[in-house]
Amino acid sequence: MRVKFTVNGREQTADDVWEGESLLYVLRERMGLPGSKNACEQGECGSCTVRLDGVPVCSCLVAAGQVEGREVVTVEGLADFAQQRAEHGGCGAGVCGGKGTTLDEAKGWAAKPAGTGDSQTGEQVKLSPIQQAFIDAGAVQCGFCTPGLLVAADELLERNTQPSDADIREALSGNLCRCTGYEKILDAVRLAAARGESETAGTGA
């Protein structure tokens, strides 16, 4: 069958899709977007998390045919998505509130100094705040869980700009990581939240 939907703002069409294929398979194998990862294919790890019409879902559990005409954001489009959200103001559609992490707490590690970067592996690459925070906090090891975690964490911060640790843990409880022990993932989300706050404070908003 043919499936047509919007991915990261662009209309995409896939032909000859087998009806049993998942959205994950179509993204990875038919649309050249393998950023969403195939770690369990049973909704138990969150590595394939994408936004489907804005809502974080496991793309392995979405039948390709169900996506017809809908909008998908993957990790590949996360930076653009975050930028557009920032340009359209404030904390997005969600609630701005809750208990937060202080900037000092969040900066308890050596954050990447401004102006440094990877010459071929990132300097020119535009990153969303949560992507940058994952790099800076050491939240990436093998990186296989990272795309799904980024999509989930970005959506959390959209809803709740100052999440408590318990909020972060709950929001990310559907994303397994086998390398990090999650501590630096928590650090990364705290860091992104703190940077978001300092940015807001800086502009007087």
């Binding site: 294919e41 049973q42 909704g43 809502v55 559990l61 979405v62 039948a63």
Partner: protein, 299 residues
């Protein structure tokens, strides 16, 4: 495999009548795992996501009509006052991502004894609205579960909604898993106080071939509360009564040993959960008498 995309409920019913083996897919939680792992190759997959009506709920004077595909996230965020037990159960379903897509219709359609919604539905009481081109019928929840992954639906029927009474008393839900999140129930227990009828209803998950009520426990407790004038006085439930209630709840189980837990443990844990959840709902009932919330903040 063919993929059917009915745009309306009527189209879905017609498609299901034409292809009774068509497997409805909404949240995909069960169906896609079976397809991904090659456990199932349905001839037809029928997408229900295009039927907006299934994702809506209506709150009436006494009941809530909950569309079969209303995601668990919506239930836990929007229906905590009306359906507190189901809202608590919804919060224990799998992961945030799954809760964003899965709904009660999927639990009912699969009718696995481990479905998290079942104990809350049984404790609440209510009816399942199913329909086919032959017509619509309401199946009382107590008559819905027939066997392991078997329910009272005909092959050409689809689940449209569940009709649940708005809570008139506190409700609780508790589930044992061997992980603190994203876990299938080893066993689960739901309880609802119905002060207007001076009754108590319960539901047990994963501890029998189907979700079951602990009817003896309910009857015993209702009698004890009545006899002691507890509904009126709000007096604490005697320890002996709570203990007996827990034992009867354990006794209602007919569990098996499997990789998730032993039968003996399931019986034991259902008893503990019965005692604790009874304590929570009664505490809540006494506290302000008539709120529908349990004692805990279950974020």
């Amino acid at each position: 495999m063919d993929f059917l995309r009915p745009a309306s409920w009527e189209e879905a019913l017609a498609a299901k009548a034409e292809h009774p083996t068509a497997v409805p897919i909404a949240g995909g939680t069960d169906v896609m795992v079976e397809i991904n792992f090659d456990h199932r190759r349905p001839e037809y997959l029928m997408d229900l996501n295009r039927i907006g009506d299934l994702r809506e709920w209506e709150t009436g004077a006494d009941t809530v009509r909950l569309g079969a595909s209303v995601p668990y996230t919506q239930i836990m965020e929007n229906l905590r006052a009306e359906l507190p037990g189901l809202a608590l159960a919804s919060h224990t379903v799998a992961s945030p991502q799954i809760r964003n897509r899965g709904g009660v219709g999927g639990n009912l359609g699969t009718a696995s004894p481990a479905g998290d919604a079942h104990p809350a539905l049984l404790a609440s009481g209510g009816e399942i609205e199913v329909e086919s081109v032959r017509g619509r019928r309401m199946i009382p929840i107590d008559e819905f579960y027939l066997g392991v992954k078997r329910n009272a639906m005909e092959q050409d029927e689809l689940i449209r909604a569940v009709h649940l009474p708005k809570a008139t008393g506190p409700q609780q839900f508790s589930k044992v898993g061997t992980r603190n999140a994203m876990v299938i129930a080893v066993c689960a227990f739901g309880i609802a106080l119905h002060p207007e009828t001076k009754t108590v209803r319960t539901g047990i998950g994963s501890a029998a071939p189907t979700p079951v009520r602990a009817k003896e426990a309910e009857t015993f407790l209702a009698a004890a509360l009545e006899e002691g004038g507890h509904w009126e006085s709000g007096a604490p439930i005697p320890v002996s009564v709570a203990k007996q209630f827990a034992q009867l709840a354990s006794g209602a189980c007919n569990p098996i040993d499997d990789v998730r837990g032993s039968a003996k443990y399931r019986r034991h844990a259902v008893g503990i959960m019965a005692r604790r959840t009874l304590g929570w709902v009664w505490e809540s009932y006494r506290g302000d008498g008539r709120t529908a919330q349990g004692g805990a903040q279950c974020a």
